[in-house]
Subunit: 199 residues, 2 copies
DNA sequence: TTAGCTTCCGAACGATCGGTTGCTATATTC
DNA sequence: GAATATAGCAACCGATCGTTCGGAAGCTAA
């Protein structure tokens, strides 16, 4: 039926698949993302979908990559160009809160959902998720360390502890927003961040 | 093949199913819990498994109930008989940390996993999970309120905010333990709790 | 024009999903 | 001891899972 598309159109089809796949995965989970469901949503055949990836696992990895791109675009690139250290750390966290508040993905934070879904298994998908999570936490740790070094945070600050607490604030935000539809949660998150990142 | 069992044995079979089901669900998720897998694990037929419940949803609800029982047994009943208020609140949180540290379930906190899995869907299973979560948070809120009233916490304490932060500490603990196998996480959790629940 | 490459489809594969149906064998009840 | 109730099994149902295969259709290079 469908003939060969130009190179540009082909890339576009692949993007459509991954984009819709990310939406589904953020709601139903990476395992709940089904070739048949994806094909039906996009009005194409299962073979046409899987042909771009070869296997479901490759598709899952492409979705994880896309989630990382979305995170870069919707969080990291929106961090204002402020000096490194405490000010930048605050803006990174604010961008994070705003991202969840904006409901960019229908299922909330993709990495939160994917992490709890795959935390007990092995395999490349779990490794990819863990890698993405590690990169962001590393960025937080770097800024926190700079803030300590610049005297913007107490000299005896435990940077690992601080990152732990920041992650907790974000996990709680996702939890209260998604499970309980709690609209005051972003305010709570910001208040916790203010206390954690006070000068 | 298998004949009818005595009433006691029947109850025991049902318990075996739900117990193993909870273990599987804590690792693979409530949807990843399949009748066939459960039957194979227990050395019985699918019909023998589903016969006790009638449908998979009923089985899932039974597993959620069992998870609540485990939580009561492993957390709430281990809270020492200390006076209400701040002291009791501290012991409740400590019991919670110890529960995750003890690795009672192979997949970590069942309700954390179940909540993120079902937070985007409707139906009785989601309602049950939300209900369990609400009960525990209510208990926390009550003790926090008593602590404020007794002057053990600052008078201007925002109890909702405190519960938000406590939940964040626990979600982070589960996250770092399960995804990253971080053995220092329980220490981090206790340190955060000490800061949140300082007199 | 022609040959090759690629995208996508329709159809089918074996496996597994949740669930149903008869049946056997036993515990319980009378 | 006879009648009844029921736990669990083997077999099967239609649906869906991920995946494979052959071919149709159109772009591109020769």
């Amino acid at each position: 039926m469908s003939p060969r598309k130009s190179v540009a159109e082909t890339r576009l089809t692949r993007r459509r698949i991954v984009d819709r796949g990310l939406e589904i995965a953020s709601m139903e989970g990476l395992e709940g993302l089904t070739i048949g469901r994806l094909a039906a949503d996009l009005g194409m055949s299962k073979a046409g979908v899987i042909g771009h990836f070869g296997s479901k696992e490759t598709l899952q990895l492409a979705v994880v990559d896309e989630a990382a791109d979305v995170f870069v675009r919707e969080v990291q690139e929106r961090v204002p160009d402020v000096p490194v250290g405490l000010v930048r750390l605050r803006e990174m966290c604010e961008a994070w809160v705003a991202y969840l508040e904006r409901h960019v993905l229908p299922g909330g934070c993709f990495f939160t959902a994917a992490a709890t879904e795959f935390d007990d298994r092995g395999g490349p998908v779990r490794d990819a998720i863990r890698g993405m999570s590690a990169v962001w936490q590393r960025d937080l740790r770097i800024q926190a360390r700079m803030a300590v070094h610049a005297g913007e945070l107490p000299a005896d600050t435990d940077v690992g502890q601080l990152v732990y607490d920041l992650v907790g604030v974000m996990l709680a935000l996702n939890h209260f927003l998604q499970l309980e539809g709690d609209s005051v949660a972003p305010g709570r998150a910001r208040r916790s961040l203010r206390r954690l990142l006070a000068e």
